[in-house]
Symmetry: D2
Subunit: 136 residues, 4 copies
């Protein structure tokens, strides 16, 4: 559990009711958590802009179910073993398509390099990748 500090901020008067309405609609019961979340998100984005920062990534693939061992092939794309596969989950979507989610940990630059090579793999139809900065 993190220690908590109380700070005062000045805010334009018309922003507050609009923000309070928005966060209430999103299920927040607490304005401070909503502001902390904005700050945390901004810090995470900044960290991701540094190529040597550490991040976890979720690689999300739809591919032809005839292809196999995609996780290994993906990691094989990284010759120097710079990325650590934390976990992967495989789901059968329908007759033709599988969904695979691979969670990785490594430096932003190595994750991005991997991301650029995913869709080229035989059988891969669509891919998405997310990164979130973490402490090393």
């Amino acid at each position: 559990m993190s220690k908590i500090e109380r700070v005062g901020i000045t805010i334009e008067k018309e922003l507050l009711p609009a923000f309070d309405a928005l966060i209430a609609a999103e299920g927040y019961t607490n304005r401070s958590k909503a502001i902390c979340d904005l700050i945390r998100e901004r810090l995470s984005q900044k960290q991701l802009s540094q190529s040597s920062a550490y991040a976890v990534a979720g690689v999300f693939l739809i591919y032809d179910h005839h292809e196999t061992k995609l996780s290994q092939k993906l990691v094989g794309l990284q010759h120097n073993h710079l990325l650590e596969v934390i976990a992967s989950t495989h789901v059968h979507l329908d007759h033709h398509n599988c969904l695979e989610v691979i969670m990785l940990r490594g430096k932003v630059m190595d994750i991005e390099k991997l991301g650029n090579n995913i869709t080229s793999l035989k059988g891969v139809k669509l891919s998405r990748m997310n990164m979130m900065a973490i402490e090393a």
Copy 2:
């Protein structure tokens, strides 16, 4: 000038120094302005998710300099005159390419419809579009 209100928030202790360092690096001299900017950005994004909200848009185009009257063609794509062109600026980039920036005002849904049709225009090579929510 907006009226200003003072509010207190609780924030995790380790977030503050990291946030203060980030905003100082971006030129902020004032933590409250940085937090207000995060809130304003979030409100704007929310408003843009509503298709009947009003927005201003900036359409950025690179196109072949042999093509002319793109602003008119673009607006012509909107048969019912649902968008108002506020201003447009035309720049010669090089022998082959012009840059045109067109500022529009209208409903999000009408701006998006236009955005989907821009690149199909003869001579257009690349396009980008931005929206920012405004009060109607």
Copy 3:
């Protein structure tokens, strides 16, 4: 395996070598697969812009490890059981943080509604969500 068709396209002469270099660097051995991937991606994006289309989503969360049963809480946010949880994977990142990836299937609008409510949950520190269009 999909049936394949051969089509001819005309392309600006200077685009081809640049595109061939880019896709080779990304590991493609086949220009047609690279073009099909661009087309597939574009079709998927278009489909996702329709709120009643079907999609699979990957929700990525970092949260405080003291919080439990996030998958259930997340789905509980959707009172009408409009989303189907396909699978979820839980990973311990460090003393303070867990990573959870939840794969969902449903309509774009229901997934987006869920996405807007995730970060408000107690203990959630960061979240990302991806969608990929699929056939219903």
Copy 4:
């Protein structure tokens, strides 16, 4: 006018009618132009990922109309005159707000550095920035 080349590609049979329908809805009269646009967009994105590549940028600001000389302040943020302002356009949106669009040319890394500092300027309420890669 660019020289044109004819190439053959193989494409999954079910992708073609879906792609043709999508591009027709977007106003394309020509499948080859639609495919060239996808290729050009991909090349541009790739080029923008290289921090020393050249780009044009459109900076799009909403700010309090009491603030003046924003273009100069913005460029002043770049002490070493690494960016060239091509043009700027100023529009009065309403009693409180102005819209300013500033077109710049320079290296990706210098444009990004500027982009990170824009919102910190006094009076700036919202900002967006677009880049499109160009030949130097």
